[in-house]
Symmetry: C2
Subunit: 302 residues, 2 copies
């Protein structure tokens, strides 16, 4: 039996699951599959105590670092996240930030007078994507009309469709100095925390721009402010920050080389229908005994 918690977070989900049809129950000993639509690790822990026979938990988010850090991802349960499901809006936002930085739109938006012609084109740029999941694949798809050289760094070296080169993350120090545009799409894990620290930010080109649509803590934010102030890099577009929300008075607000968007690459209006599709598909697969989409590897933490 399937339980959706809280069912109010997913308008229309009951009608969707009724179409399969999926047997639905209240949270309890009958629950075999738990759709965890909204709620933090502590609430989830309590829910799992009330539903000891759960075999599968579907998380409603793509980045599950909070649940991994809370030590939840084990106990003989199959975990799935929404990873990949929100790739379309997130990749679009990443490209919007890349173009905004290259065209210096943050500076233009704050200007109160005509300025000199400035700005760079994405054509001819070398784009380094850190992370080889759904967002990277979708961003590469959006980049197909541009003349760009794309390099994807990922854990495995299986080639990513649409990338000119796919390399292991160990090539980061070699690739950073070559990139005009660096986009972070990788999950936050103990291995990726502060992946871009002061040393690595210092390896970037002074005319390069950095876009983060993954998790704020993949970048050492303190080092990033230093790099921006020193002109070590040309600009940063951050949809994710560390901490979140970014506090008022933080130097990133209104920094001439920075643009912060408040974790809004995928708004609830954008994710809700995409999550509903993913859930319906996974419930169908769960009931049919088929492999699920977005399975989490507890050892990797994503």
């Amino acid at each position: 039996l399937i339980t959706v918690v809280p069912v109010e977070a997913l308008p229309g989900i009951e009608e969707r699951l009724a179409r399969i049809p999926a047997p639905i129950c209240e949270l309890g000993t009958a629950t075999r599959g738990l759709i965890w639509a909204d709620g933090g690790p502590e609430e989830l822990q309590m829910a799992l105590e009330r539903a000891p026979n759960v075999e599968w938990v579907q998380l409603g988010v793509a980045g599950i670092d909070r649940y991994a850090e809370a030590g939840l991802l084990d106990g003989g349960i199959t975990w799935t996240s929404a990873k990949g499901a929100f790739a379309e809006p997130v990749a679009e936002h990443a490209l919007a930030l890349v173009l905004a930085l290259l065209r210096e739109l943050p500076m233009r938006a704050r200007a109160t007078r005509w300025g000199a012609p400035r700005g760079r084109s994405l054509h001819g740029a070398r784009v380094l994507l850190i992370g080889g999941g759904g967002i990277a694949i979708e961003l590469l798809r959006l980049l197909t009309p541009w003349r760009v050289e794309t390099v994807v760094l990922r854990r495995s070296t299986a080639p990513i469709p649409g990338a000119n080169r796919t390399m292991p993350i160990e090539a980061l120090d070699e690739q950073l100095p070559l990139a005009d545009v660096v986009v972070l799409t990788t999950p936050l894990t103990p291995q990726t925390r502060h992946l871009l620290d002061a040393r690595r930010l210092g390896m970037m080109r002074p005319d390069a721009v950095l876009v983060n649509v993954a998790r704020g803590a993949i970048v050492d934010m303190h080092a990033l402010i230093g790099a921006l102030d020193a002109g070590t890099i040309a600009g940063a577009g951050l949809d994710v920050t560390d901490p979140e929300p970014l506090p008022e008075g933080h130097p990133f607000w209104a920094h001439p080389r920075a643009l912060v968007t408040p974790h809004t690459a995928d708004t609830p209006e954008m994710t809700r229908p995409l999550l509903a599709v993913r859930i319906e598909e996974n419930v169908r697969r769960f009931l049919a005994g088929e492999p699920l989409e977005g399975i989490v590897d507890p050892l990797l933490g994503y």
Copy 2:
């Protein structure tokens, strides 16, 4: 013989033309082909008086409204502009502005605190392009990865490659209320001046955004401010304004729904190599007696 004025405006052009090889001369009675790299209509008029045997003038700009308004486009001379040559950077800038407006980046750039998740995706949008020249064709190419419905309005009804529909400009009143995104790419002529006036801006959807990378005066700027203030449209991204430069203190600066870039869709760094390619090609064709690229129709004014 070919004359380039001023030759300093096009670094490397002499070497390029020497490769053809093209016979070069100072401005005078020997000049048959005049490459007008930089300078306004009055200087050009004076130059033509000194070179009475000119058969062909290549203008260094894509939008030649200033020369047309000065009454220069006649007198048995073949006129060519750079139209189409700068389409790549201009279309890119147009898309950057579209995405910036949909993702509300002007508001984010000015924010000094975390905000609520807001923003819209370009996927699923209906995009109306006014003008069917090189910029429109290139913008359609950049839009190919998106799920968008594209309509091009142009003078002729010959289908534009990549557009879902090509319609005559007379369909404007019918199409404006349907568009989520309106992009102006059309030349400024007596017919397109204030094409978007108060009446037509009032026909747009309140959630629609307008991007102008063509000429400022295609929009009635006074009416546009009114439409933005009233919420008749959701946002405007203007790379061109009327007048230019947009004066300090103008309400468009820092208007919460507007983003102004100072006619910088194609910076000199971007256009110089593209113009050099166009000139080299047209000089080659002129000497070979072949049809030129970017021929201007004096009656149409572009």
